[in-house]
Amino acid sequence: MNVSPQPNPPVPSPPTPLPLLPPVSFAKKPVPPDPSEPAVTPPPKDNPTTFVKKPKMAGKPRKREIPEGLWTKCPKCSTMLFDKELDENLKVCSQCQYHFPIGSRERIHSLVETCTFEEMDAQMTSVDALGFTGVATYTSKLEAYQRSTGLKDAVVTGICRIGEHRAALGVMDFGFLGGSMGSVVGEKLTRLIERATEKGLPLIIISTSGGARMYEGMFSLMQMAKTSAALAYHAKARLPYFSILTHPTTAGVMASYATLGDLILAEPGAMIGFAGPRVIKDTTQAELPPGFQTAEFLLERGLIDAIVPRNELKERLITYLGYVTAGRNCSSGLAKS
């Protein structure tokens, strides 16, 4: 409990005063302006008092990735984390439990039993149905993101085994166009849901998304209705659906499948909401309450069943799946295929 928060606890030493400490204070001393020089002129380089000014550091833009590929600084507690350990810890800060963003592939790897993930529709890609030309064309955006992420679109779906349960699993990836939901995301998830309904499998969708994809206009909005309709029939067949909300999940995805889970779970600290905080501020001209639109805020207000840290998620899913399939043994899907 009473762990000292100080990084260097004082070593027990004889209670002598500290005679070695010179009476020098490192606090910034008021440096009287040199009367011979105008106040605006910076002190010369060889000035022995340069330690009091830090213009160089302050002027530098703050960059998070310091040397490439080895260490990552936690944005919450500023601890330097060794990348390899961070990866092993599922991208969770070992000091403050801050959850870094995690890609869909890593997420799947962390949840399913080895070699049990059978991906569906891996090659499905988006089409620029509207001929959308904003500042850049939609096609060029798609190509750029496909190159940078190695993904085809913002969701990966498939059938897998978690513990002893076979399940349909969909994992969104924020790295691909902000996890936005266009026709491909809608179609892949709908096929996944339909497959789950058909095979009698429980369904798990891990969401992270900025909402519907603007570039596909109304087609994107219709994906909300499409996925929700598929979920209606999945629910009608009394099959379980768990929705897991990760940072961030907002807008169109929140207003469709993400909030339709039998259980709604969330990662700690995730930003979750319908409208963006800036839009709300601009519309209402009000101060937003502290912690507004976080997982913890929404748990207090009754939307979320439980907040589950990333490294406990697999265990929890297995436990919950055990309960929801106890009544009719859903995992008989195992035998079916």
């Binding site: 109304m218 909005l221 219709m222 929700s228 309709a229 209606a232 169109g252």
Partner: protein, 346 residues
């Protein structure tokens, strides 16, 4: 005349001239007849109107959809329907006046009408929250729709909202969940559902009462995933690019019909619904009645299957990425537009 849009000006000028001439013989009893001039101006007015309204841009239609004189849900309830008995409350938290609902009579049919309602003046707009519903509005809508379903009343949803309300209370009471539940539950309601976009179809806020067997849209209404201003702010970094965004998003009735995202366009009187609300209401009535009779003729299972398939078919995609040679052969922008829905089948 207040509330005129820029492109309406030539019409309004001619109209004023015409009114003046018509009044003239009454005020100056000189016995001079202006019949000839009146006829000419009438002809010119008709022509100007036709010319302007046959070539409206997407942005002009957005402005018409938001026209402060445009008929709202309650105006149609008074004219298109013969009776309306309003029912209130979501039985959970509050009565949301941005959504109205209740029993109504459409021709010989007794139906349940749900609609988003804007205010005509500041006072009413405060009451109606400018037509943007809170979670309570969507939950009231679902309560009334379930009531209708229980007793076999068809549901008519009239949509006219800029969007669901982005406020603190709305978030605290989970507006996203309220909309999502409506989307799921409306899929399974056994009674026929017709949705008509009569003004603004603002994203999830519109879709939240808009899952239906038939989706109709008035000629000058729009239906969009995001407001043109919102899209402009994100993609162009300035709200003033809204006109460009409106064009790019393809949100007009004609665009949506071409993309097979709506089932039918309901024509408006020349000059927009606000120039002749009575006729607009009558046209709406005809279209609702035709569709309702068609839907009522279908067996429940068939109707639900068609409803599911209607949304199931939405959204083009490719099963596999195009190879380099296919890409080269791919049609350019203009023809790609027409070919888009076919890609669904790919």
């Amino acid at each position: 005349m207040k509330h005129q849009l820029d492109f309406e000006k030539p019409i309004i000028e001619l109209q004023n001239k015409l009114d003046e001439l018509r009044k003239h013989p009454e005020t100056h009893s000189l016995g001079v007849s202006f019949d000839e001039e009146i006829k000419q101006i009438e002809k010119k007015l008709e022509e100007t109107r036709r010319q302007i309204f046959s070539n409206l841009t997407a942005w002009q239609r957005v402005q018409l959809a938001r026209h402060p004189k445009r008929p709202y849900t309650l105006d149609y309830l008074a004219r298109t329907f013969t009776e309306f008995h309003e029912l209130h409350g979501d039985r959970l938290f509050a009565e949301d006046r941005a959504v109205v609902g209740g029993f109504a009579r459409l021709g010989d049919h007794k139906v349940m009408v749900i609609g988003t309602q804007k205010g005509r003046d500041t006072k009413e707009n405060i009451l109606r929250n400018f037509g943007s519903a809170h979670p309570e509005g969507y939950r009231k809508a679902l309560r009334l729709m379930r009531l209708a379903d229980k007793f076999g009343l068809p549901i008519i949803a009239l949509i006219d909202t800029a969007g669901a309300y982005p406020g603190i209370g709305a978030e605290e009471r989970h507006i996203a969940e309220a909309i999502a539940v409506n989307l799921r539950e409306m899929t399974l309601l056994e009674t026929p559902i017709i949705a008509a976009v009569i003004g603004e179809g603002g994203s999830g806020g519109a879709l939240g009462i808009g899952v239906a067997d038939r989706v109709l849209i008035l000629e000058n209404a729009y239906y969009s995933v995001i407001s043109p201003e919102g899209c402009a702010a994100i993609l162009w970094k300035e709200r003033s690019a809204a006109a460009k965004a409106a064009e790019a998003l393809r949100i007009t009735a004609k665009d949506l019909f071409e993309l097979k995202l709506v089932d039918e366009i309901i024509p408006e009187p020349l000059g927009g619904a606000h120039t002749d609300p009575k006729q607009a209401a009558e046209i709406l009535r005809q279209h609702l009645l035709t569709n309702l009779e068609q839907l009522r003729a279908l067996p429940v299972a068939e109707r639900l299957k068609l409803r599911y398939e209607k949304y199931r078919a939405c959204g083009p995609f490719l099963e596999k990425p195009l190879t380099a040679s296919e890409k080269a052969a791919a049609p350019r922008k203009s023809s790609k537009r027409a070919a888009a829905p076919a890609a669904t089948m790919a």
